[in-house]
Protein backbone atom coordinates (compact mmCIF):
# COMPACT_ATOMS: atom_id res chain seq x y z
CA UNK A 1 0.00 0.00 0.00
CA UNK A 2 2.77 2.38 0.93
CA UNK A 3 4.58 1.58 -2.29
CA UNK A 4 1.44 2.27 -4.28
CA UNK A 5 1.01 5.66 -2.57
CA UNK A 6 4.60 6.54 -3.26
CA UNK A 7 4.18 5.66 -6.92
CA UNK A 8 1.09 7.90 -7.15
CA UNK A 9 2.92 10.77 -5.45
CA UNK A 10 5.94 10.42 -7.73
CA UNK A 11 3.71 10.26 -10.82
CA UNK A 12 1.75 13.33 -9.72
CA UNK A 13 5.02 15.13 -9.01
CA UNK A 14 6.29 14.31 -12.47
CA UNK A 15 3.14 15.65 -14.13
CA UNK A 16 3.23 18.76 -11.98
CA UNK A 17 6.89 19.51 -12.68
CA UNK A 18 6.34 18.95 -16.42
CA UNK A 19 3.42 21.37 -16.43
CA UNK A 20 5.34 23.91 -14.35
CA UNK A 21 8.36 23.53 -16.60
CA UNK A 22 6.21 24.34 -19.62
CA UNK A 23 4.74 27.35 -17.89
CA UNK A 24 8.14 28.62 -16.82
CA UNK A 25 9.66 28.16 -20.26
CA UNK A 26 6.65 29.90 -21.83
CA UNK A 27 7.10 32.77 -19.40
CA UNK A 28 10.82 33.04 -20.12
CA UNK A 29 10.19 32.85 -23.87
CA UNK A 30 7.70 35.71 -23.58
CA UNK A 31 10.20 37.85 -21.71
CA UNK A 32 13.03 37.03 -24.07
CA UNK A 33 10.87 38.06 -27.02
CA UNK A 34 10.46 41.45 -25.43
CA UNK A 35 14.20 41.98 -24.98
CA UNK A 36 15.03 43.05 -28.57
CA UNK A 37 12.08 45.43 -28.60
CA UNK A 38 13.16 46.91 -25.29
CA UNK A 39 16.67 47.50 -26.65
CA UNK A 40 15.18 49.02 -29.78
CA UNK A 41 13.05 51.37 -27.67
CA UNK A 42 16.23 52.41 -25.87
CA UNK A 43 17.81 53.11 -29.25
CA UNK A 44 14.80 55.18 -30.26
CA UNK A 45 15.23 57.17 -27.07
CA UNK A 46 18.61 58.29 -28.35
CA UNK A 47 17.09 59.82 -31.47
CA UNK A 48 16.07 63.42 -31.87
CA UNK A 49 12.31 63.62 -31.31
CA UNK A 50 11.73 65.05 -34.79
CA UNK A 51 13.14 61.90 -36.39
CA UNK A 52 11.99 59.35 -33.84
CA UNK A 53 8.69 58.61 -35.54
CA UNK A 54 10.09 58.24 -39.03
CA UNK A 55 13.07 56.17 -37.99
CA UNK A 56 11.72 53.98 -35.20
CA UNK A 57 8.10 53.48 -36.25
CA UNK A 58 8.61 53.44 -40.01
CA UNK A 59 11.84 51.52 -40.27
CA UNK A 60 13.38 49.91 -37.24
CA UNK A 61 10.30 48.38 -35.64
CA UNK A 62 8.87 46.87 -38.85
CA UNK A 63 12.29 45.39 -39.65
CA UNK A 64 12.61 43.89 -36.17
CA UNK A 65 9.11 42.42 -36.32
CA UNK A 66 9.92 40.95 -39.72
CA UNK A 67 13.24 39.55 -38.49
CA UNK A 68 11.62 37.92 -35.46
CA UNK A 69 8.81 36.33 -37.44
CA UNK A 70 11.21 34.42 -39.61
CA UNK A 71 12.42 32.24 -36.76
CA UNK A 72 9.24 31.50 -34.90
CA UNK A 73 10.22 27.98 -34.07
CA UNK A 74 13.68 28.86 -32.77
CA UNK A 75 13.48 31.17 -29.76
CA UNK A 76 17.24 31.34 -29.16
CA UNK A 77 18.01 32.25 -32.78
CA UNK A 78 15.22 34.79 -32.63
CA UNK A 79 16.62 36.28 -29.45
CA UNK A 80 20.17 36.50 -30.79
CA UNK A 81 19.15 37.90 -34.15
CA UNK A 82 16.74 40.45 -32.69
CA UNK A 83 19.05 41.59 -29.92
CA UNK A 84 22.05 41.93 -32.25
CA UNK A 85 19.98 43.97 -34.66
CA UNK A 86 18.67 46.23 -31.89
CA UNK A 87 22.06 46.63 -30.16
CA UNK A 88 23.66 47.75 -33.42
CA UNK A 89 21.02 50.42 -33.79
CA UNK A 90 21.39 51.42 -30.15
CA UNK A 91 25.07 52.19 -30.69
CA UNK A 92 24.53 53.89 -34.05
CA UNK A 93 21.28 55.74 -33.32
CA UNK A 94 22.76 59.21 -33.13
CA UNK A 95 24.94 58.68 -36.16
CA UNK A 96 21.97 57.46 -38.18
CA UNK A 97 19.82 60.41 -37.13
CA UNK A 98 22.64 62.81 -37.95
CA UNK A 99 22.82 61.37 -41.44
CA UNK A 100 19.09 61.76 -41.90
CA UNK A 101 19.27 65.51 -41.41
CA UNK A 102 18.95 67.16 -44.80
CA UNK A 103 21.84 69.38 -45.63
CA UNK A 104 20.91 71.11 -48.83
CA UNK A 105 21.33 74.77 -48.17
CA UNK A 106 23.02 76.83 -50.80
CA UNK A 107 26.08 78.41 -49.21
CA UNK A 108 25.77 81.53 -51.28
CA UNK A 109 22.21 82.12 -50.17
CA UNK A 110 23.03 81.31 -46.58
CA UNK A 111 25.09 84.46 -46.32
CA UNK A 112 28.52 85.13 -44.92
CA UNK A 113 27.52 84.37 -41.34
CA UNK A 114 26.49 80.81 -42.14
CA UNK A 115 28.68 80.00 -45.12
CA UNK A 116 31.70 78.95 -43.10
CA UNK A 117 29.85 76.49 -40.91
CA UNK A 118 26.84 75.65 -43.04
CA UNK A 119 26.54 71.99 -42.17
CA UNK A 120 27.21 72.48 -38.50
CA UNK A 121 24.79 75.35 -38.29
CA UNK A 122 21.97 73.47 -39.99
CA UNK A 123 22.56 70.47 -37.78
CA UNK A 124 22.27 72.59 -34.65
CA UNK A 125 19.33 74.40 -36.14
CA UNK A 126 17.38 71.23 -36.85
CA UNK A 127 18.25 69.75 -33.48
CA UNK A 128 16.91 72.94 -31.89
CA UNK A 129 13.72 72.57 -33.93
CA UNK A 130 13.46 68.96 -32.90
CA UNK A 131 13.67 69.97 -29.26
CA UNK A 132 10.80 72.40 -29.76
CA UNK A 133 12.89 75.49 -29.26
CA UNK A 134 12.01 78.84 -30.69
CA UNK A 135 14.31 79.47 -33.60
CA UNK A 136 16.35 82.63 -33.65
CA UNK A 137 16.44 82.70 -37.42
CA UNK A 138 13.99 83.10 -40.24
CA UNK A 139 14.02 80.36 -42.84
CA UNK A 140 12.87 80.24 -46.42
CA UNK A 141 11.93 76.73 -47.46
CA UNK A 142 11.35 75.40 -50.93
CA UNK A 143 8.26 73.49 -49.83
CA UNK A 144 4.96 75.17 -48.97
CA UNK A 145 4.68 75.49 -45.21
CA UNK A 146 1.35 77.31 -44.84
CA UNK A 147 3.25 80.53 -44.49
CA UNK A 148 4.13 83.47 -46.66
CA UNK A 149 7.62 84.36 -47.72
CA UNK A 150 9.30 86.42 -45.07
CA UNK A 151 7.12 85.11 -42.25
CA UNK A 152 8.93 84.18 -39.10
CA UNK A 153 7.91 80.72 -38.00
CA UNK A 154 8.61 79.26 -34.61
CA UNK A 155 10.93 76.27 -34.55
CA UNK A 156 8.10 74.13 -33.26
CA UNK A 157 5.81 75.19 -36.12
CA UNK A 158 8.44 74.22 -38.66
CA UNK A 159 9.16 70.91 -36.93
CA UNK A 160 5.43 70.12 -36.81
CA UNK A 161 5.00 71.04 -40.46
CA UNK A 162 7.91 68.80 -41.36
CA UNK A 163 6.49 65.97 -39.28
CA UNK A 164 3.05 66.37 -40.94
CA UNK A 165 4.69 65.93 -44.30
CA UNK A 166 6.36 62.75 -43.10
CA UNK A 167 9.73 64.37 -43.43
CA UNK A 168 12.40 63.10 -43.82
CA UNK A 169 10.84 59.80 -44.94
CA UNK A 170 9.56 61.30 -48.17
CA UNK A 171 12.00 61.41 -51.04
CA UNK A 172 10.94 64.94 -51.88
CA UNK A 173 13.05 66.66 -49.29
CA UNK A 174 12.47 70.06 -47.90
CA UNK A 175 15.38 72.19 -48.93
CA UNK A 176 16.52 75.02 -46.78
CA UNK A 177 17.33 77.54 -49.45
CA UNK A 178 18.06 80.41 -47.22
CA UNK A 179 18.73 80.90 -43.55
CA UNK A 180 18.78 84.44 -42.26
CA UNK A 181 19.33 85.73 -38.80
CA UNK A 182 16.35 87.36 -37.26
CA UNK A 183 16.98 91.14 -37.26
CA UNK A 184 16.48 91.37 -33.52
CA UNK A 185 19.17 88.73 -33.00
CA UNK A 186 21.72 90.32 -35.30
CA UNK A 187 24.04 91.31 -32.47
CA UNK A 188 24.13 87.83 -30.93
CA UNK A 189 27.22 85.69 -31.40
CA UNK A 190 26.90 82.74 -33.76
CA UNK A 191 26.17 79.73 -31.51
CA UNK A 192 27.86 77.33 -33.93
CA UNK A 193 31.23 78.97 -33.75
Amino acid sequence: MTAFLWAVVVLAGMFLSAALGDLVSEEIRGWLDKLPQAVLRLAAGRLDPAFRESIYQDEWLPELVYALRGDESRPITRLIRGTTFALGLLFAARRIARNRIPVSATPAAAGPVMAAAKEQFIHHFLVALANGEQADVSVVLSEPMDANAGDTLSGLAIAQALARRGYPAEPTTVTVVEVRRHPSREARPDPTR
Binding site: E63, A92, T175
Partner: protein, 119 residues
Amino acid sequence: MGAMEQPIQPVPLTPKIAAVLKIFLEDPTKPRYGLELMRLTGQPSSIVYTNLAKLERAGYLVAGKEDIDPHAAGRPARRFYRITGAAVAVARTQLAALSEQYRPPVPVRPRLAPNWGTR
Protein backbone atom coordinates in the same frame (compact mmCIF):
# COMPACT_ATOMS: atom_id res chain seq x y z
CA MET B 1 4.34 58.49 -59.56
CA GLY B 2 7.70 60.01 -60.16
CA ALA B 3 9.02 61.46 -56.96
CA MET B 4 11.37 64.34 -57.60
CA GLU B 5 14.92 63.08 -57.30
CA GLN B 6 17.32 65.37 -55.55
CA PRO B 7 20.67 66.03 -57.19
CA ILE B 8 23.45 63.63 -56.25
CA GLN B 9 26.09 64.81 -53.84
CA PRO B 10 28.83 62.22 -54.39
CA VAL B 11 29.67 60.31 -51.23
CA PRO B 12 33.27 59.16 -50.76
CA LEU B 13 33.16 55.40 -51.25
CA THR B 14 34.39 53.19 -48.46
CA PRO B 15 34.51 49.44 -49.04
CA LYS B 16 31.37 49.06 -46.90
CA ILE B 17 29.39 51.65 -48.84
CA ALA B 18 30.67 50.11 -52.05
CA ALA B 19 29.37 46.70 -50.97
CA VAL B 20 25.90 48.20 -50.43
CA LEU B 21 25.91 50.09 -53.72
CA LYS B 22 27.02 47.00 -55.59
CA ILE B 23 23.91 45.19 -54.43
CA PHE B 24 21.67 48.04 -55.55
CA LEU B 25 23.38 48.02 -58.94
CA GLU B 26 22.80 44.30 -59.45
CA ASP B 27 19.17 45.16 -60.17
CA PRO B 28 18.56 48.91 -59.98
CA THR B 29 14.77 48.51 -60.12
CA LYS B 30 14.62 46.14 -57.18
CA PRO B 31 13.71 47.56 -53.80
CA ARG B 32 16.07 46.55 -51.03
CA TYR B 33 15.50 46.31 -47.30
CA GLY B 34 17.94 46.99 -44.49
CA LEU B 35 17.76 43.44 -43.16
CA GLU B 36 18.32 42.03 -46.62
CA LEU B 37 21.37 44.23 -47.09
CA MET B 38 22.71 43.11 -43.70
CA ARG B 39 22.40 39.50 -44.83
CA LEU B 40 23.88 40.08 -48.28
CA THR B 41 26.83 42.20 -47.18
CA GLY B 42 27.47 40.57 -43.80
CA GLN B 43 27.52 44.02 -42.23
CA PRO B 44 25.88 44.78 -38.86
CA SER B 45 22.79 46.97 -38.51
CA SER B 46 24.87 49.86 -37.15
CA ILE B 47 26.83 50.09 -40.40
CA VAL B 48 24.08 49.29 -42.87
CA TYR B 49 21.53 51.77 -41.53
CA THR B 50 24.11 54.53 -41.15
CA ASN B 51 25.20 54.07 -44.74
CA LEU B 52 21.62 53.88 -45.99
CA ALA B 53 20.87 57.19 -44.29
CA LYS B 54 24.03 58.67 -45.76
CA LEU B 55 23.21 57.47 -49.27
CA GLU B 56 19.61 58.62 -49.03
CA ARG B 57 20.65 62.05 -47.89
CA ALA B 58 23.15 62.32 -50.71
CA GLY B 59 20.45 61.49 -53.25
CA TYR B 60 21.66 58.01 -54.23
CA LEU B 61 18.63 56.28 -52.77
CA VAL B 62 14.96 57.00 -52.37
CA ALA B 63 12.90 55.32 -49.70
CA GLY B 64 9.41 53.93 -49.93
CA LYS B 65 6.98 51.82 -47.97
CA GLU B 66 6.12 48.23 -48.66
CA ASP B 67 2.69 47.92 -50.25
CA ILE B 68 0.99 45.52 -47.85
CA ASP B 69 -2.05 45.51 -45.64
CA PRO B 70 -0.54 45.42 -42.14
CA HIS B 71 -3.63 43.77 -40.68
CA ALA B 72 -3.68 41.00 -43.26
CA ALA B 73 0.09 40.50 -43.09
CA GLY B 74 0.14 40.66 -39.31
CA ARG B 75 3.10 43.02 -39.33
CA PRO B 76 3.80 46.68 -40.14
CA ALA B 77 4.92 47.72 -43.63
CA ARG B 78 8.67 47.83 -44.03
CA ARG B 79 10.70 50.68 -45.43
CA PHE B 80 12.61 49.91 -48.58
CA TYR B 81 15.24 51.71 -50.60
CA ARG B 82 15.75 51.96 -54.32
CA ILE B 83 18.66 53.48 -56.20
CA THR B 84 17.80 56.57 -58.22
CA GLY B 85 18.32 56.74 -61.97
CA ALA B 86 20.93 59.45 -61.67
CA ALA B 87 22.81 57.53 -58.99
CA VAL B 88 23.21 54.43 -61.13
CA ALA B 89 25.72 56.10 -63.45
CA VAL B 90 27.51 57.89 -60.61
CA ALA B 91 27.76 54.73 -58.53
CA ARG B 92 29.02 52.66 -61.46
CA THR B 93 31.75 55.21 -62.16
CA GLN B 94 32.73 55.40 -58.49
CA LEU B 95 32.81 51.61 -58.11
CA ALA B 96 34.95 51.28 -61.23
CA ALA B 97 37.36 53.90 -59.88
CA LEU B 98 37.49 52.14 -56.52
CA SER B 99 38.07 48.80 -58.16
CA GLU B 100 40.89 50.29 -60.23
CA GLN B 101 42.39 51.76 -57.08
CA TYR B 102 42.47 48.38 -55.34
CA ARG B 103 43.47 46.30 -58.38
CA PRO B 104 46.84 44.67 -57.70
CA PRO B 105 49.56 45.59 -60.19
CA VAL B 106 50.45 43.06 -62.87
CA PRO B 107 53.63 41.27 -61.75
CA VAL B 108 56.64 42.06 -63.90
CA ARG B 109 58.19 38.91 -65.34
CA PRO B 110 61.97 38.87 -65.52
CA ARG B 111 63.02 38.83 -69.14
CA LEU B 112 65.23 35.94 -70.07
CA ALA B 113 68.58 36.74 -71.56
CA PRO B 114 68.81 35.66 -75.22
CA ASN B 115 71.62 33.25 -74.49
CA TRP B 116 70.09 31.87 -71.31
CA GLY B 117 70.44 28.10 -71.15
CA THR B 118 72.98 27.88 -73.93
CA ARG B 119 76.00 27.73 -71.68
